[in-house]
């Protein structure tokens, strides 16, 4: 009885163990031919086959085809000889999905020492295998990236104290040092001395605080030649957040730096030349200003004497002089006054080239009305018809543009003086280069043969006795229009009148 109860106790223990095993593992039993004689619930669950579908089959039903024949043969050889086999197997479930099992196959031997049955105990390691595969793939990717990086960049790794622990081939090539010469050194070996201490200190402060540093560094190769590298240093931190190592990735920018230096040098040379030229121009301008200042003061004084003393002679000795003598003195006075007028006009003209333009939008119509009023409109002693067309606003210096209108309208009035009914048309036409203002008169006109002389200083196409003038008016007009970036031209027929046109650019590109 005691024997019985002992047997029952150990049976119970075995059952308990089996129950625990079934909870934990995938269990199958096969006969010596490999036919499945038992599967537990976990086997059914992972293989997605029912027990009925499995019993009597061999393991080919879940063969994934993943393992080579030698692998399967080795397994059978091992267990056929009564030895335990252990390994990892990929199987295929009923739905075609794959799973991995860590497998231990224990052969149980019969009385002749031949396997009686095999008990296979498996654990699902699909998740681990997937993770391993992923890790392998990403490791491969990292290695690929590293290979690509080595192809492309100059790479070095240093320890937290700055000692070089790794350099790639490109680092060796550009620095001209062998790897053995570099490892264990710090970067002072390639220091060019170009950068100030603060620069280097700034770099170390940045990376030792765990920040990425980026900048351009000038290094010196073994043969003393300098080279420039665009550098990114990335600190890698340990668990405590302190730099564990620094990886520096560099690109050779020596050629770019050379080009930049050449451009800078070129710019500096250009700026020097511009400064020199500007200084020369300023000097010339100052000289011109001093010249015209002294012309304005000194050239007029003798003319005042000529005019004043001629007048004094007429006043003091007029009665004693013959009529012809008085007339000649008057001629002297007229000539002196004319020269005064010439000097004044010339000074005004020369000032035009120097004074700066105060550009803004100008109401052309208002400007024209103002100029006409200044010229004495309406003229009670003459028959003058003024026709004003549409006059769009223009861009320019109002004072200078008014001078243009004064001169052109003044000319139109002057050269229509001998007409019984003077007609002056003012308007604007569209040309290919933009709007062109015009002043047309029915006056004396001129021969187009001489149009080239029209805008020259002191050039006149009419005799002094017919039409007074200094020959500066149209030269002034041309200079003002040209300084605005515009163009002025004229068309005329002798005795039929003349038309003067001028353009003003909408807005000069310099101001954009």
């Amino acid at each position: 009885m005691q024997h019985d109860s002992q047997l029952q106790a150990s049976l119970k223990e075995i059952n308990d163990l089996k129950a625990a095993l079934d909870e934990h593992a995938i269990v199958a039993i096969t006969d010596p031919q490999g036919k499945i004689t038992y599967v537990n619930d976990k086997f059914c669950a992972i293989s997605k086959y029912s027990r009925e579908e499995l019993i009597g089959q061999d393991h080919r039903v879940i063969n994934s085809g993943h393992h080579p024949k030698e692998f399967i043969r080795d397994l059978w050889t091992t267990i056929g000889r009564g030895r335990v086999w252990h390994g990892e197997i990929q199987n295929r479930a009923k739905d075609g999905s794959f799973y991995w099992v860590d497998t231990t196959i224990v052969p149980f031997l019969g009385q002749e020492g031949k396997p009686r049955q095999y008990v296979a105990i498996r654990a699902d390691i699909t998740a681990r295998k997937l993770a391993e595969e992923k890790l392998k793939a990403s490791t491969k990717e990292v290695l690929d990236l590293k290979a690509a990086l080595d192809e492309h960049a100059i790479v070095a790794i240093t320890d937290p104290r700055g000692k070089i622990t790794f350099v790639n081939d490109r680092f060796c090539a550009i620095s001209q040092y062998a790897r053995t010469e570099l490892l264990g050194q710090d970067h002072r070996i390639i220091n060019s001395g170009h950068h100030p201490k603060e620069f280097i200190r700034g770099l170390w402060t940045t990376i030792s605080r765990g920040h990425v540093w980026h900048g351009e560094i000038k290094n010196r190769a073994k043969d003393g030649s300098p080279y420039w590298v665009d550098t990114t240093i990335v600190p890698f931190l340990d668990a405590e957040g302190k730099p564990r190592q620094y990886i520096a990735i560099r690109a050779d920018i020596t050629e770019r730096k050379k080009a930049e230096a050449a451009v800078l040098e070129l710019n500096a040379a250009l700026e020097r030349r511009v400064a020199e030229r500007t200084a020369q121009l300023e000097t010339a301008n100052r000289e011109l200003e001093a010249f015209s200042y002294s012309v304005s003061h000194d050239l007029r004084a003798p003319l005042r004497a000529v005019d004043g003393f001629s007048q004094a002679v007429i006043e003091d000795f007029g009665p004693q002089l013959p009529e012809e003598g008085r007339r000649q003195l008057q001629t002297i006075r007229q000539a002196a006054q004319r020269m005064g007028a010439l000097i004044d006009d010339l000074l005004t003209f020369s000032r035009l080239g120097r004074q700066s333009l105060a550009k803004r939008t100008v109401e052309t119509a208002g400007l024209v009305r103002g100029a006409l009023l200044e010229l004495g409109s309406p003229w009670s002693d003459r028959r003058v018809e003024i026709q004003i067309g549409e006059l769009p606003p223009s861009q320019g210096d109002p004072a200078l543009l008014k001078q243009v209108w004064l001169n052109l309208l003044g000319n139109a009035l002057k050269y229509t003086r001998k007409r019984d009914a003077a007609l002056i048309e003012i308007g604007c036409v569209w040309q290919s280069e933009g709007q062109a203002f015009y002043v047309r008169d029915n006056g004396t006109g001129f021969d187009m043969q001489y149009v080239g002389k029209l805008f020259g200083v002191f050039q006149r196409l009419h005799r002094m006795e017919d039409y007074e003038g200094t020959g500066v008016g149209l030269a002034t007009v041309q200079r003002i229009i040209q300084r605005h970036g515009g163009r002025v031209w004229a068309e005329a027929t002798i005795d039929r009148g003349a038309t003067f046109y001028f353009t003003l650019p909408e807005e000069s590109p310099r101001h954009e």
């Binding site: 200042y293 304005s296 003061h297 000194d298 007029r300 004084a301 003798p302 003319l303 005042r304 004497a305 005019d307 004043g308 003393f309 007048q311 004094a312 002196a336 006054q337 020269m339 005064g340 004044d344 000074l347």
Partner: protein, 150 residues
């Protein structure tokens, strides 16, 4: 020492021809009484401030008005003007700048320094004479300058 009559007008002019014409114009305008002529800026300042050759002169004896050329030897007209307008004793004396210059910067500087009038000498003598005439009438006859105190 009061036997010298007080000076009404100081004419500062270096050009002898301009000077002769100016005096002629002033005479024709009946303004020729008690004119003193200075031929450069230094002489003008000596006269006004009773210094140097004019140390014996009485400061209160005028002038009532000063006609001042700008381009002058030694001390130029603008410097004379600055001295006059900076000194409380002389800043009330009317100064008329009389010059050939139409240069904007001269005109602007003169007015900034407190000039009372500015006349450009025209080439035409008659216009010059009439300008001097009106000027003399205005500053000597109509305008009553405040009393100069020493």
């Amino acid at each position: 020492m009061n036997d010298t009559p007080s000076i009404e007008l100081l004419l500062v002019e270096d050009n002898p021809q301009d000077l002769e014409l100016a005096l002629r114009a002033l005479r024709k305008a009946n303004l020729a009484n008690r004119i003193h002529v200075a031929r450069d800026g230094a002489e003008a300042l000596d006269f006004i401030f009773c210094e140097g050759a004019h140390a014996g002169r009485n400061f209160t004896d005028g002038p009532k008005v000063i006609l001042l050329d700008l381009k002058l030897p030694k001390i130029d007209g603008l410097s004379v003007l600055r001295r006059l307008k900076q000194d409380p004793r002389t800043k009330v004396i009317p100064v008329v700048v009389l010059t050939s210059s139409k240069e904007q910067r001269d005109v602007i500087e003169s007015y900034q320094m407190g000039v009372n009038s500015y006349i450009v000498k025209p080439v035409n003598f008659e216009r010059f004479a009439s300008a001097v005439h009106e000027l003399g009438l205005y500053w000597l006859l109509l305008n009553q300058p405040p009393k100069v105190e020493e």
